[in-house]
């Protein structure tokens, strides 16, 4: 018997570092899976607030927000961003949000 499985992290298009290259392949289950694979479990409401802001900004502007903008506009201050995503908030939130790796220096 075969089940029609939903696409998971392993069968979406990703780059060498695990960033989705096609944001449209993303869904919330994939977000949870990416988060778990990167040591973030559970993905709390505060995480989701950052992840959604990241994704919305990217889909609207074509660019991921900088850490400065994340701190000012996501509703989660910089200190908390680093507590939520200790290994680098901007990149990890982008990965979980299913958008390409941010290439800004700020």
């Amino acid at each position: 018997m075969t089940l029609a499985l939903k696409p998971t992290y392993t069968d979406v298009d990703v780059d060498a570092e695990g960033f989705l290259t096609k944001p449209e392949q993303w869904d919330e289950d994939i977000a949870l899976e990416i988060a778990r694979a990167n040591g973030i479990d559970p993905l709390t409401d505060r995480h989701w607030q950052v992840v959604r802001f990241m994704r919305d900004t990217y889909l609207q502007t074509g660019n991921a927000p900088t850490i400065r903008t994340l701190g000012k506009a996501s509703g989660v201050p910089v200190k908390e961003l680093y507590q939520l995503f200790p290994k680098g908030p901007a990149k990890l939130a982008a990965k979980i949000a299913g958008i390409p790796k941010p290439r800004g220096c700020i």
């Binding site: 900088t66 850490i67 910089v78 200190k79 680093y82 290994k87 990149k91 800004g104 700020i106």
Partner: protein, 168 residues
């Protein structure tokens, strides 16, 4: 007859990631301060620990009374592509500073005061150099509250153990 040469035994260097940086900021001009701040912030964004040590005129970047007055050097800076005699005219440095700040704002690079706050909130540790503090007759009260302490060179090296040291 052919002989096969033995494979050369070359030990490949082990690939390691940078875990920690110690950045020294020694200049007090806009172009002297920003590179170190950007590198420190970039380190934190990659999850790399960062200590920043401000020395000599670099102290201006953490001095309450100077932090908002840091300017581009228009004299003695060949990359300005400006004749030295133009660079000394009143207002040239202010104008160059204004233009540069405008371009940086477009890239979402914060003003220095805000950048220092961002770094501290990001978990970077900021320190002032004791020799410079003594030389300029300053005390801890002269610095913005994000500065964690005044360190001797020896204490800085102790703190920087295991870090890549970057001098700017």
């Amino acid at each position: 007859m052919t002989t096969t040469l033995a494979e050369p035994q070359v030990a490949l260097p082990e690939l390691k990631t940078i875990e920690k940086v110690a950045i020294i900021i020694s200049h007090g001009s806009l172009e002297g301060v920003y590179p170190g701040l950007i590198m420190a912030n970039g380190a934190r964004m990659e999850g790399i620990d960062a200590d920043v040590f401000f020395t000599f005129f670099g102290l201006d970047a953490i001095r309450k009374d100077h932090i908002d007055q840091i300017k581009v050097a228009t004299v003695g800076n060949p990359a300005m592509h400006m004749p030295a005699l133009i660079g000394v005219l009143p207002g040239m440095s202010a104008m160059a500073t204004h233009m540069m700040k405008r371009e940086m704002e477009k890239l979402d690079i914060p003003p220095i005061g805000e950048f220092i706050e961002l770094l501290a909130d990001s978990g970077a540790n900021l320190y002032a150099c004791k020799a410079s503090v003594d030389m300029f007759h300053l005390t801890a009260d002269d610095f913005v509250p994000q500065v964690k302490g005044i360190l001797t060179v020896g204490e800085f090296y102790e703190l920087a153990a295991g870090a890549q040291i970057i001098f700017t």
